[in-house]
């Protein structure tokens, strides 16, 4: 860990001023916001992130940690902890996919520490990114190459990758957000703006070191999830080697609006598969107007993984992803909602 100066920001204006030199997603960003710290402190110890200034924004909790569930929408303050959100009655009742995605992530301790804003910005678990002794990593050191392409890559992404980076987005909550058409509220030096959550994370496009579309100084202040006829019939299915405390090998966030036996609308996000939080719109479209049976679920899953590119160790992933999605769809269809 490199030396840094530590500062506390007690309101968002001070935070964005303090953070105006942030270059999100870049190892050499000279300023980093500190919230729960579960990613930042970890990666600073590993010498991957080397900020000269750390701006502690936990003081923003007072103004930016509330959770409001109304008939129209769910608004989540970005400084709310994962734990507080996962146990919120309105979230549990009306947005089970969100509650489950949080509940199945990390551990009780980490969920107490981690904030929602920090959680969606967590960095990949790619071992070649996290360990600076691997010389080649385009995300950490642009232009150096990608070790994962030719080394052990069991848990690397198969969707949304290119030859510059096949690292996987490791989170769960973001998969639920992307499925539910969430928006994210950003506060920056020039004020507030809302963007579609889907556009927060960038595709690699040869520049995997730039991970998000955040502007310098911008801090996530809230998430908004529109209520839909599908949000109550929603779930998050996470497949992993052990029963808990593990990143997804494969996951699916599914929300369904059913009309009798047929699908009126579907929302699908995939985790454990992709470079960034992944929305499977082709699969959603295939389901509309059709009964949710095994065959149609499989057709949708096939479409969802159609673009998969594998690299040896993760050859099994498209098949696991398809099966995960089929299981999640059938399970959601059987929910009492």
């Amino acid at each position: 860990m490199r030396p840094f100066s530590y500062e506390r920001a007690s309101d968002v204006q001070r935070a964005v001023i303090g953070g105006r030199e942030t270059r999100q997603g870049q190892t050499d960003a000279p300023v980093q916001f500190l919230a729960g710290g579960t990613t930042l402190i970890d990666l600073m110890k590993l010498d991957v992130l080397r900020p000269a200034r750390v701006v502690d924004i936990k003081g923003l909790k007072a103004a930016h940690a509330s959770i409001e569930a109304t008939p129209q929408r769910l608004r989540l303050g970005a400084l709310a902890s994962m734990a507080a959100t996962a146990r919120h009655p309105g979230v549990l009742r009306d947005y089970p996919v969100i509650a489950e995605s949080l509940q199945l992530a990390a551990s009780a301790q980490l969920r107490n520490m981690a904030t929602l804003g920090g959680n969606v910005l967590q960095r990949t678990r790619c071992p070649y990114y996290r360990d600076t002794s691997w010389a080649e990593c385009n995300k950490r050191d642009p232009g150096s190459g990608c070790t994962a392409l030719k080394s052990f890559n069991r848990n690397h992404a198969v969707l949304g990758v290119d030859d510059s980076c096949i690292s996987q987005y490791p989170g769960d909550f973001a998969v639920a957000l992307v499925a539910l058409d969430a928006a994210v509220e950003l506060t920056g030096p020039t004020g507030r703006r809302m963007i579609a959550f889907e556009t927060l994370h960038r595709p690699p496009q040869g520049k995997p070191n730039v991970e998000t579309t955040l502007m310098p100084g911008e801090v996530i202040t809230a998430f908004e999830v529109p209520a839909g006829p599908w949000t109550r019939r929603s779930l998050y299915l996470k497949i992993r080697d052990r029963s808990s405390y593990e990143f997804a090998l494969s996951s699916a966030a599914v929300a369904l609006d059913l009309n009798g036996g047929a699908v009126r609308q579907a929302r699908i996000g995939l985790g454990g598969m992709a470079y960034r939080p992944w929305r499977a719109k082709e699969a959603e479209a295939l389901l509309v107007g059709r009964p949710l049976n095994e065959g149609n679920a499989m057709a949708a899953a096939t479409a969802a993984l159609a673009g998969a590119r594998t690299h040896g160790g993760n050859d099994f992933k498209p098949e696991l992803g398809r099966r995960t999605l089929v299981r999640a769809l059938l399970q959601a269809a059987a929910m009492e909602a």
Binding site: R8, A9, G37, I41, D42, M44, S107, A108, L110, S243
Partner: protein
Amino acid sequence: MSTTSPAADGPTRRRLFEAAAGLAAAPAIAQAAAPAPTVRKSGAVDVVLNVNGQDHPLTLDPRTTLLDALREHLHLTGSKKGCDQGQCGACTVHVDGERVLSCLTLAVAVQGAKVTTIEGLAGPNGAVHPMQQAFIDNDGFQCGYCTPGQIMSAVACVKEGHAGSDGEIAEYMSGNLCRCAAYPKIVAAIKQARGKMERG
């Protein structure tokens, strides 16, 4: 770096982003309301850590984690370093009553918060906490290294209301690895202590 001796490198202090008066009144933001640590010329910071009910003034490298501050500066070695990267739970302590990982917490960031460690769990008369007794009774450990973290996590697990069933306990205790694999006995210990904690 000197740890407890104050004023080794002079008086130049600046206070950064002091808490706004309006926010200081809000009870939910104890951390924000507390004064930020003061920074010395050398880059070291003066910080007051409240641990087990006692204030400890320290001068720390800002990089010092809460875990290292406890172990190397306050000599409270009950909290253990098992991975130093948030993957094992051996360093679990309570900050403002919530279980957190002290290895991923900067010491400077908890100025103004109340930290409780395994050393602070026993009663004022030295009697062990019902959870500690339950771990002994059920042989809820072997080597004992993960045990302080398990117990801090277990106490929180009960207080959170996550100790309803064996399955719920196991899920909510899964952030504490036990390589000796005392898991079923840890679950049994929590069930034993649960009743006493709820009554007591």
